[in-house]
Amino acid sequence: MGLDLSGKQYRKVPYEEKEALLEEVKEDLRFGDYMYGCYDCGICVAACPSARFYDFSPRKIAQSVAREDVDLFYVFLNDSVWDCSQCFSCDRCPRQNSPGGLITLMREVAVKHGLASAQEALEGYGRVVYKIMSTGTQVSPDMLQANAFPDWGPHVKDIAENLDVWRKALPPETLHTTEASWKVDEKTLIELYLIWHATGVMDMIKEVDEGLFMILQDVMEERLEDAGYDVTFD
């Protein structure tokens, strides 16, 4: 079934609430550089990988924002933005827009307000957020498990079974890790946690995944305390 653009599915959401979210997207410091208006030419769609496999159109999203069609914007904010591949092929826009960048901003607003659609889109993604925020590297070697990547082939099982020794068989000393992609200094991790704290990222996590927030809070607060920082994420 295609995307329902009528907005009927969100008629119970007050118009003012939808409008406030659009305003928030427009207030982001990057907005002026991502959206100059829209010719409705569809060049972005021609380049877009997601448009080939989903009922998805960067042109329609750009139009909804440029025309300030609040109801349509809200449909895309919930039902479309997570289909984007964030490849930025659409940066070839003749109006100098970045529809992909606009979509990043929309996603951020969706996460910040804990929209149900954002929570659903990020289901199953928590372990990745945990990994990057707590270890400073994203896809660690120990994530390569046959049950997690059954479609990648039998080598994944071989890697999982030989993981420790195959990591030791890597000549760069920084790569002898299994839980992080490379060895990150303790001091460096503390600095990363201070960044998450100072920029409000943990507040965003709290909105979309309370459980993940609590686990991260535990790990980070303890380490920060050990390093002599009196920092809490509440």
Partner: protein, 397 residues
Amino acid sequence: MIPHQAIMNKAKDRKFERNPDLAPNADYHDLVDQLEKDGEWEVQRVPEPYIEVQTKFGRKKKIPLQTTWHHKSCGQCGHIPGYSTSVFWINRQLGLDYHDPTDQTSCTAWNYYASATSNAAAQSAVAMRNFAAADESGYFPIIHCGTSFGHYKETRQQLIHSEKLRHQVRDVLKMMGKKLVMPEEVVHYSEWIHAVRDKIAERQVIDMSKIRATIHPACHYHKLVGEDAIFAPEIYGGQRTAIITATLIALGIDVKDYSTWFDCCGFGFRHILVSRDFSRSFAVQRKIEVMKEEADPDILITHDTGCVTTLDQSQFAAKAHDRNVGLPVMSDSQLAALAMGAHPYKVLQLHWHSTDMKPFLQKIGIDTDKAWAEFEEAVAKLRSGEKQYLTWEDCDE
């Protein structure tokens, strides 16, 4: 009468030349330098000797030869470790000084483009913390991941144009005793490979002249802040980025074109982790099958974490559906190292890849059974405790 011959002769001499003065936007070099003059940040200069290359609008970009700080990639180090190992191996073979830091975090952009659980200030602060760490070490950053490279260029634009963001990030860094330092250039490792391709070719020991290859240029390399990607008049007439292609040509490889060259690989950031049906379908139907049908290559070479991952790992499941797949995939760093005689398993670590490399390796004269036995022998020593780790010296035995 129309002077056909005169026109044709003139066309032969025609060469596409770019005029940087006609570029549609301001040169980031000038903006970065101006902010240094204004006392807004320091600029870490590209160490000498450097190699100059041309970018999209005909501007010059400096690529450091050595004294490089290797900003590693999560996906490369975690899942395709021969990718970064090959970059280091080439540096060592060329006798160049480099630093592989532990005071480095991910750029965190893979997660950002996948989940949006971050914001402009956090992303810029992560970037500038890493840049400050590089500056403190006295080595110049060279970025292994295409997404980190693209994202850092985006971050640079945002920091240039927003005083508010700059000051916010400056204050965050101050808290940890760090300065705001912008590198003079944001350099991708494949640009370094491109810049030293002749040195690599001079040390080539494996003949690759019988090899047909297709390439996939990474979206975040040449589309995201695309003005800062390498272009060369002699490659695709200067109409597409020269990255990878120029390197392969220097190695004597026949680079074949195909009609979906500009298309993305299907990685999708969140898709590759939680919606892989999309990634698989796109990679197979829009890239691999098109290449196989139109170019019939021996190998596919790309230059980014996500591209190697998607194009390599997506082919296995497609075999079950009788799709036209079975094309080995590796990075330009792995291929360049291989050409220089690197071990396919100790250095290139090809056992971490999904696609079958053997037909390609055998075509260039490598005894794959022997090479695998050598790797297994080295691993046996690690298992028995005779050795703790495989060393660089072991790689060249």
